[in-house]
Amino acid sequence: MPRTRRTLVIAASAAALALVPPLATALGEPFLISLFSRVVIYALAAVSLDLILGYGGLVSLGHAAFFGAGAYTVGILAFHAEDGSPVLDWPLSISGSTDALVTWPLAVLVAVVLGAVIGALSLRTRGMHFIMITLAFAQMLFYLFVSLEHYGGDDGLSLWSRSAAPGLDLSNATSFYYVCLALLAGYLVLCWRITRSRFGMVMQGARQNERRLRALGYPVFRYRWVCFMLGAAGAGLAGALIANQTEFVSPALLHWTRSGEIMVMVILGGLGTLFGPVLGAAALLLMEEGLAAYTEHWMVILGPVLVAAVLFARRGLFGVLCGGDDDAR
């Protein structure tokens, strides 16, 4: 019964994630909480890419652009809050802020606007063009932030503290972890609802047979565009969280290998499964951590593992754990 098994896998993973802080405290390894905060944040980014990649069938290799844009939104607002100078004088006056209720939604908004612009241009193309164009736009943003000397350029920007939220102490590792986890869960539920809605059905239909959907009268471009923006929103939120987690933003967040890593998480976990990417993010980051302890040249192992995973294990971790047919999709 793959269906019950799937529920079981999700419930077990959710329980494991929820139990991380008490377990880490019990083991006397508080560093595990920050490691798993990273896992949860990257999981959020990977789930948002899965929406575009797995359901939309759009191979976007520029997802780090939205991730980095979200992070820089938080970073720049915090920088100006510290500095006392306005972010913008004209056309409207914006002052810096470290209030999570202001900066995080703004990070999402910035990512969505960016997704709207990049999507409008790149969705005009298909296949290989689309891959290269999303990659190129992300790289453009990377170089833009490298050249912004005012915000640290290549060296990045340190935050003085995490964002402030009413009633929550985000500088506390455990409460920050649970905030991240709650946001991940919320985004997962949102995506789950979206993929099962009429909108989600149109997206999946367009992936399988675009011509037929067009013939049925659906404006495929617009559906894809909205899907692209929804994915960008999740990545922007993840970016806002990672800026808070590390209290540091730098152009490295936008480098295109970051887009590649997020894509690897999606595939490793299971494309088009929504929950799979959470497992993929955990697997990749824990594997990195494990291999890095063993050798500094861990990438020389990870690379071939990746090639082998693509060639021989196509269903992803989630598919393997759930068993059964490709019903997970």
Partner: protein
Amino acid sequence: MLLFFEQVLNGLQLGVTLFLMAAGLTLVFGIMNLINLAHGSMYMMGAYVGASVTAASGSFVLGLLAAVPAAGAVGMVVEIVVMRRLYSREHLDQVLATFGLLLFFNELVVILWGRQPLFMNVPPLLSATVEIVPGAPYPAYRLAMMGVGLAVAAALWLLIARTRLGMQIRAGASNREMAGALGIDIRRLYTLVFALGAALAGLAGIMVAPILAVESGMGESILVVTFVVIVIGGIGSVRGALVGALMVGLVDTLGRAFLPLSLRAVMAPAQADSAGAALASMAIYLLMAAILVWRPRGLFPAAG
């Protein structure tokens, strides 16, 4: 004016390097319908092998003669071991597998050569400067690079338009099954084309080695710019690759040199410099976006 002239030459030289990268990659994209992120690794391998052989033997020519076949051989092995299994797969699988290869090669050179970048001198024969126009000395080595690039462009055109192998390549590009049915060994042809592309990337790598640092990850930055060239030129078109490469080379170089200067005319110097630098780093991507809006399939879309 002299500065402008010098920057145009720099732009052309960057364009020629990009062309060497783009020519091989566009053939692989167009003919095999394969997206290859590991192309920059071939460029890096060429640079590393060339720099070490040159350092060991003291001869740039030997370095060149070692780098190009080495990159070609690495390409051939990669094609036989990995790429061959990817032709029939989705683009997504190709992206991921070649991304894995790229991580592997980046770390492999760190293991073999260490984290310190290698530096290489311009060969003594070409270390002089030439005054093409009086008062503007220009390094002979960079001129030689341009010469090599243009010679390769001509040779590629001859190969593709005038030889039997070129005919087979064109046939394989337009209809794989039909070419196979007519007795062309498609597998061997693909391996050859892939190795050719890798060798050209290796050539680009060894040629830039004396003017850039040879380090792990050097292939990535040029790879993305190469993609921009291919998108502008049109996938599968060598002519498009040449035009796109020269355009991108000129726009990037001239933008970096003159955008901050020209913005100073309209705003305060400090602001002009930072805005100019930001704009210049985005210039080629804006060029790509503009061309996409105008022609989504590039300037010279290949047939089929």
